[in-house]
Amino acid sequence: MTSQEEVRSILQIERLSLADFESLLSDSATEIIEELAQKAQRLTQKHFGKTMQFYAPIYLSNECNNQCVYCGFNSKVSGQRVSLSVEQAVAEAKVLAQMGFRHILLVSGEKKDVVSVDYLKRLVFQLRDLFASISIEIYPMSEYDYKELLAAGVDGLTVYQEVYDREIYEKVHPAGPKSDYNFRFETPERGGRAGFYKINIGYLLGLGDWQSETLALAKHAQYLQKKFWQSQISISFPRLKGSRVSDLQLTQMICALRIFLPKVGLVLSTREPAELRDNLIPLGITQMSAASRTSPGAYSQDEPATEQFAISDQRSLTEVAAAIVKKGYEPVYKDWDRVYIETAAIDS
């Protein structure tokens, strides 16, 4: 058992051990959450300033061969299945570019024959002029494929382990390629070797015990930071609807991770409600999505397909930007440049 005094003494240290981090997840730390938040804010402002980076997802396809029990794209769930053509995806992208987004995240289910490497390359070639930064959150790929995508102009990789606990992982991923725990776990590693500038990891809040999952996540992030020292590592907090993880626990998790890993990016999506997101702005979050739609075609088409999850924060980009300004922060649209990457010539 960690006492409040022990937590307080940890808050005085600059470089924390993993054991110190574990103490920040304790119940005693929960009781002095305000002190954690104060330190998290100071550390975040030192490294990231008073800024918030925006991004938006584009869902390319909700077809999927997996059966993740928590997901709207589960192949056993009925619903309208759609995969966008390159032209349709570009139409989506144009809507987002028009809104003001300069960083985007391409998302899809696991359907390799539809959302193929070739398809992604052709799409990225067309998106390169519209966006400063393009990341992917699709199915795990080989290092070779990642290198191809990097050369095409993809600079970031997002992949969540979903749950670090192996037993639970097997239970919630009963079939499909995703049932291979190790292949998924090694995905950020393959991305790092391929040379992605940004690697974003996370777990789904609500599948396992939040404290042990957060500890595993922190270890994973620290390992990646050391091994791929040229990549910016960031962490997301996708919380399942009706999750057992409370707002207080989510807040504690964000603050503790910030204190343990002061330079890691922390990302919060529109899964969370507007009020909570606004309150978390000054506590350590560095990137936010806004105005998101989680079904393919939803930005540019009228008939909605099946969503991956229901979003909570329905505000427009302008409204979220205004909320950020109100908190005394500067919304940042562009903080990356295509020019960093020596992109391959357009051959299509």
Binding site: G49, T51, A132, Q230, E330, V339, Y340
Partner: protein, 253 residues
Amino acid sequence: MLKIADKTFTSRLFLGTGKFPSNQSLKEALAAAETEIVTVALRRVDLNSPQEDILAAIDRSKYLLLPNTSGARTAEEAVRLARLARAGGAGNWLKLEVTPDPNYLLPDPIETLKAAEILVKEGFIVLPYINADPVLAKRLADVGTAAVMPLGSPIGSHQGLKTKEAITIIIEQANIPVVLDAGLGAPSHAAEAMEMGADAVLVNTAIAIASNPAKMAEAFKLAVIAGRQAYELGLKTPTTQASASSPLTGFLR
């Protein structure tokens, strides 16, 4: 007067522009600092939406724009970024930053030297961000950089002049301006650098995240002026030794 390449400056305080809570607060800080040289990360510049852009806050008739290549991992990336910026109208002054590690943003000495060599040949006025390495500073001067910008401590760390001994050597050996960059968390740090004989300092985070950036910018301005004035007057080296009461050379009289 501070002279870099063919330009002279009254102010010896450079400002960085990242991390400010708004373009308005940035604008006010620039004015209060009475700075003349302002650095902007090219990665933040968005020529597609000029009204949202960070450049909108910087009046280029008042300030010399010093674009920087922060985020570049290699010489090649930095060179590409610099060329594109010049083609886009950002001028030929450049703060060269090759910072492959996104965590501490420490500069890569090998890639920095490579990039400097190429960019100087292409006509850029190059001010490289470096670790406090006296030999590297000389090597960069040899390839023709207009100044060197050694760090006091890692960016945003507010730790002040942790590299003091090496900085002293860099200043002693320099025949180009030395601009102390990064890690200056308090006006006293800036004053200390100026007292040591640095030609100028660059400050960003300490001003950007202050509760009142304009007031903090003014505080740094005053510290830089104070430090420089003391340096020019000549500071007495502190001594711990007492003078011997019976002279050692009395026998000569």
